[in-house]
């Protein structure tokens, strides 16, 4: 187990090094170069030359590369010249909103996926499973912006039930918890619909596959009740693909969905990414790209480790 953990961590670290290098070159593509992205100043295009010289960005590229690493280690992510605040501080402000939103969404999605997946696996080939299968197929093809738009159209505009957009920023004002929850309902439903349609399908297939295995038949032959087999053995074994996919959704807990947050004008990190791309505020864009990449690698690593705990065989794969 320790060897497996060490191996996975080493491999993930290498991925992160490559990723940071990739993003370094991406930052070089931005107009003005990393002068804005790492050491950003409120510099006009005309003064970029002077800024570059002053910040040592006229040194050879390999030296700049090490400067990039050095600043990352110090947590210096640059300076947003449009919002005139350090990027790190900005990210944190928006981070809180996204974390509330996506933690609720992912927990709800996982619970529903396990429920629907179980029904689908147990009733395989009969109408409950077919109904769920049809819904999964249809909802899986639904684009996020369309789901969000329809929900707003029905629940906000036609029925006046829920707010369509906006939220009071958690860190600045203290809104009533009810107001906050009401603002969260539609975004959470959107993410849940989209996540469950994919997640429940993987879990359902895994449950169905497990139910056909020899150990289930043996257990049934020994007279163990179906409930005990299902909840004692099958679910545990079927969780592996679910954990892998949850690992993939891990970065979204921190970075949010660009589309959903933009439709609902929800001031999270995804929304910030969108606005910054539109206004070409590169230091923020670069920092978020880097954050998402690193979190994805970490999410994969966590999924591998959890699977290693769940299933000893996964430790040797």
């Amino acid at each position: 187990m320790i060897r497996m953990v060490a191996g996975r961590i080493a491999s993930s670290s290498l991925s992160i090094v490559i990723l940071v290098t990739l993003v370094f070159f991406m930052a070089h593509l931005t107009p003005g170069g990393p002068a804005y992205s790492i050491l950003g100043q409120k510099a006009t295009a005309a003064s970029v030359q002077e800024v570059n010289a002053r910040l040592g960005l006229n040194v050879p590229i390999w030296q700049q590369y090490f400067i990039w690493w050095w600043h990352l280690f110090q947590g210096k992510l640059g300076y947003s010249y449009l919002l005139s605040r350090p990027v790190g501080q900005l990210l944190w402000t928006y981070e809180v909103n996204t974390m509330v939103f996506y933690t609720v969404s992912i927990v709800l999605s996982t619970a529903l996926s396990i429920l629907f997946g179980l029904i689908q696996g147990v009733y395989f080939g009969r109408w409950p499973a077919k109904l769920i299968g049809g819904l999964q197929l249809a909802f899986y093809a639904l684009p996020a912006f369309f789901v969000a738009a329809m929900l707003v159209l029905w629940f906000s505009v036609n029925m006046h039930l829920l707010p369509a957009s906006g939220i009071v920023n958690l860190r600045e004002v203290h809104p009533g918890i009810a107001t906050y929850a009401a603002h969260l309902v539609l975004p959470v439903i959107t993410v849940t619909i989209l996540t469950v349609s994919a997640l429940s399908r993987y879990f359902g297939e895994a449950v169905h596959e497990e139910l056909g295995k020899d150990y289930v038949r043996t257990a049934a032959a020994k007279g163990i009740t179906f409930q005990k087999i299902l909840f004692g053995h099958v679910i545990r074994n079927a969780l592996r693909p679910l954990v892998t996919i949850l690992g993939l959704s891990f970065p979204y807990i921190f970075t949010g969905g660009v589309i959903v947050e933009s439709v609902f004008n929800y001031p999270g990190l995804g929304w910030l990414m969108w606005r910054s791309s539109l206004s070409q505020d590169y230091p923020i864009v670069i920092a978020i790209v880097l954050l998402i990449g690193v979190l994805t690698v970490v999410g994969n690593l966590l999924a591998d480790l959890v699977n290693g705990l769940l299933d000893p065989r996964a430790r040797f794969e």
Partner: protein
């Protein structure tokens, strides 16, 4: 199996049940292809059959709901929404389809190079791929779109150069699985080059997988372009696409303009469903499961 003891009523709701059976039928190929043809017709033929100019402005007729004069109503500038939708379909498809083809060829080439090349090349390319795959494509798209402010040509290149990594991994793994089979080794012994082996044997063995995933990639390409346009960084004015039309409808959401939101959304949904059904149908035909 003990599950059979839990008997469930069959065919409980007849019409709904039939629809679901149709959607989940093992062979969804016909449904998918018919929907795909309908989408192609909307994008490439219908703009020539419906004469009104999509970009003509009629301020007097702004924001009207559907009527005989304007079958799908008008937007806030008084532009004919049906004409806009057809023109938007043209720009959506004329960008998304070539982009999907470009991504397909890059993915296949990268995967083959990695699978057939020397082991150091394979390791390097796969390491790089791991890092690239850690970045969601929409995020990279946003980044590059914000740098270049894309036009229709650069959008094709952008989408094409960003959408290939998943296929590359698949082709590489499949190449690894196939390249030590007897017929490949025999050809190698006879002095065939790697390129000959790749296009005569490997690509042929992989054809079903390539066709199925190519179909899915078309859907992904349409979705990526629509999402990017929805966010204002895809197809740029004066041209419209389904994504940008939906976004404009959403801007006016307080006025309840369902005729500006529903049709473009349904068309993107239809395209994705068509690609998904076709892909799954092909997979079932080729004897795969899923």
């Amino acid at each position: 199996m003990s599950t059979t003891t839990l008997s469930a009523p069959r065919g409980a709701a007849a019409p709904a049940g039939k629809f679901i059976a149709w959607l989940t039928a093992k062979d969804t190929l016909a449904t998918g292809v018919i929907m795909g043809l309908a989408i192609l017709f909307i994008g490439f033929a219908a703009p020539f059959l419906y004469p009104p100019d999509p970009y003509a402005i009629h301020p007097a007729a702004a924001l009207q709901s559907p009527s005989w004069a304007y079958p799908l109503g008008t937007d806030e500038l008084g532009r004919d929404e049906l004409a806009l939708l057809l023109s938007g379909g043209f720009y959506t498809l004329v960008i998304a389809l070539p982009a999907a083809i470009l991504a397909f060829f890059i993915g296949v080439a990268y995967g083959l190079a990695s699978g057939l090349g020397p082991s150091w090349l394979d390791k390097t390319l796969m390491r790089l791929l791991d890092a690239i795959l850690a970045l969601p494509s929409l995020i990279i798209l946003l980044f590059f779109a914000s740098i270049f402010t894309p036009n229709n040509t650069t959008l094709i290149l952008l989408l094409g150069f960003i959408s290939w990594p998943a296929l590359a991994r698949l082709v590489r793994n499949e190449t690894m699985a196939q390249k030590n089979r007897d017929f490949v080794l025999a050809t190698e012994q006879l002095g065939a080059s790697q390129i000959y082996i790749a296009h005569v044997h490997l690509l042929r063995v992989m054809a079903p997988i390539l066709v199925v995933n190519g179909t899915f990639m078309v859907g992904d390409s349409i979705l990526s372009l629509s999402a990017l346009s929805f966010l204002g960084l895809g197809v740029q004015p004066p041209y419209e696409s389904w994504g940008s039309l939906l976004e404009q409808g959403l801007d006016l959401i307080a006025l309840n303009p369902w005729w500006l939101i529903l049709p473009p959304g349904l068309l993107v949904f239809g395209s994705l469903l068509s690609a998904s059904l076709t892909g799954q149908g092909l997979l079932a035909r080729f004897g795969g499961t899923r």
